[in-house]
Symmetry: C2
Subunit: 264 residues, 2 copies
């Protein structure tokens, strides 16, 4: 069965790349700015190379979508990998200890496998479609909190907030801060999704994320018993990257608040 071989390759790639990233923390040779706002380092690029080499040695004919451009589309496969070699690059460059490697695999348009590894906390989140979600081999589930007012949430803002999108997500942030225990803003969408999956957060939303940010984490949330949609409760579309992920119990309440805001 392809999934168990894929699982083994994804674990191996995430752990190897995570170890490398952890060693390089606080020792960055070069910072570039993608499109003037988005930080990328030599560590992002080296981590991606490492991951793609491991995955491609087992799955040379698959398609790969990777943040630093090392992917390619294959014509003869229905299997596609989404690779974020370092989610939370801004945190990483500042040594703020919240970043991860994220690897997702889809077959025939459906996410089948998600692996997210935080090398600082040594936490490996994993899910396989239909088989549940795990943190370091222990099963995880979303939280049982049923009301928004008792919930802890998280969100993020895109790198070009301030120049191109000055008001991006500030209205939802203010609104949901006022209605909940608070909104964390910790700088890694993939880890925020895993925190929803293991019950540390009741919900997470963000706008305009990239496919590699959410491919693995969205499956991990669903397999932990949570719900993933766009902000209006339609199907989450990995190409637009608008996402709301919750413990399912508060989903309708958050969607109702989002609908009041008339978001663009």
């Amino acid at each position: 069965m392809a999934v168990s071989k894929a699982k083994s390759a994804a674990f191996n790639a995430a752990l190897e790349a995570g170890k490398y990233i952890k060693e390089r923390r606080g020792n960055i040779k070069h910072i570039d700015y993608k499109g003037a706002f988005n930080i990328v380092t030599d560590v992002d690029k080296a981590s991606e190379k490492m991951i793609l080499e491991i995955l491609k040695s087992d799955f040379p004919d698959d398609s790969y979508v990777a943040e630093e451009g090392g992917g390619h589309e294959a014509s003869k496969t229905e299997r596609r990998w989404y690779v974020d070699p370092l989610d939370g690059t801004t945190n990483f460059t500042h040594s703020y200890p919240f970043f991860c490697v994220s690897i997702g695999m889809e077959e025939a348009g459906q996410m089948m496998l998600g692996v997210v590894y935080n090398p600082i906390a040594d936490e490996l989140f994993y899910a396989e479609r239909g088989k549940g979600a795990f943190l370091n081999d222990e099963p995880i589930t979303v939280s049982a909190i049923g009301e928004l007012r008792h919930s802890l949430l998280a969100t993020g803002f895109p790198p070009d907030t301030g120049i191109i999108q000055p008001h991006n997500n500030m209205v939802p942030f203010t609104t949901l801060t006022n209605l909940s225990h608070g909104v964390r803003r910790d700088g890694s969408a993939a880890l925020d999704l895993c925190f929803v999956a293991c019950g540390r957060l009741e919900g997470f939303w963000e706008l305009k994320l990239a496919p590699w940010d959410i491919a693995a984490g969205s499956l991990i949330v669903e397999e932990a018993g949570g719900r993933v949609s766009d902000l209006a409760d339609g199907p989450m579309d990995i190409s637009t990257g608008h996402i709301l992920a919750t413990n399912k119990l508060i989903h309708d309440e958050v969607v109702a608040e989002m609908k009041k805001l008339d978001l663009k």
Copy 2:
């Protein structure tokens, strides 16, 4: 010399209470709401009792200011302890892994000693006036980043944001998100101050904090080479709790932005 005895007592209290808090994570018997908004658990109370017993056994005649009300003012001493038995209680109740114990000691109105312990990361931050700042016994210094636009910041919002103070701090949050690499909002002021001290953040600000939130952390920032003031660059007053702490290099630039906002 009193400081070395005080240091030993504060280390002992922070490590003991931190160990207890870590064990109780995810296993809370009772949540109260102080003043309808501020969460307090049986763990906050037990941690405070543990810390005060340790400190008072060595310093029975000192004054104590503690978050859960276990303190008392002594008339014959110029020495006062500030104890936050669990900074980041909201995070703790959700098992979001970012909370700490904070213990500060002042003599004759001047902070002399600060100890902050994060039991999940096992990070003990420490400073003694005139002797530098340390993380797990290694000296720490603030970051060398000199421009706001290349800085990572953090802030917080009070528990009653939404009802009593609906717009609290949202304008500074939006403004500084737009001018920097981003503003983290992770739910523990004491840890945010320590992150400024060790260079993981260039700056932190918040309004209306309590003395026990900032007593230890503000000394740790100063001893690591940073600068602490109120938001208008006047002296930080522990009784009003408006604080701006930076790596010193970006301080004037942040103060200039705050002055434009005409904060109440």
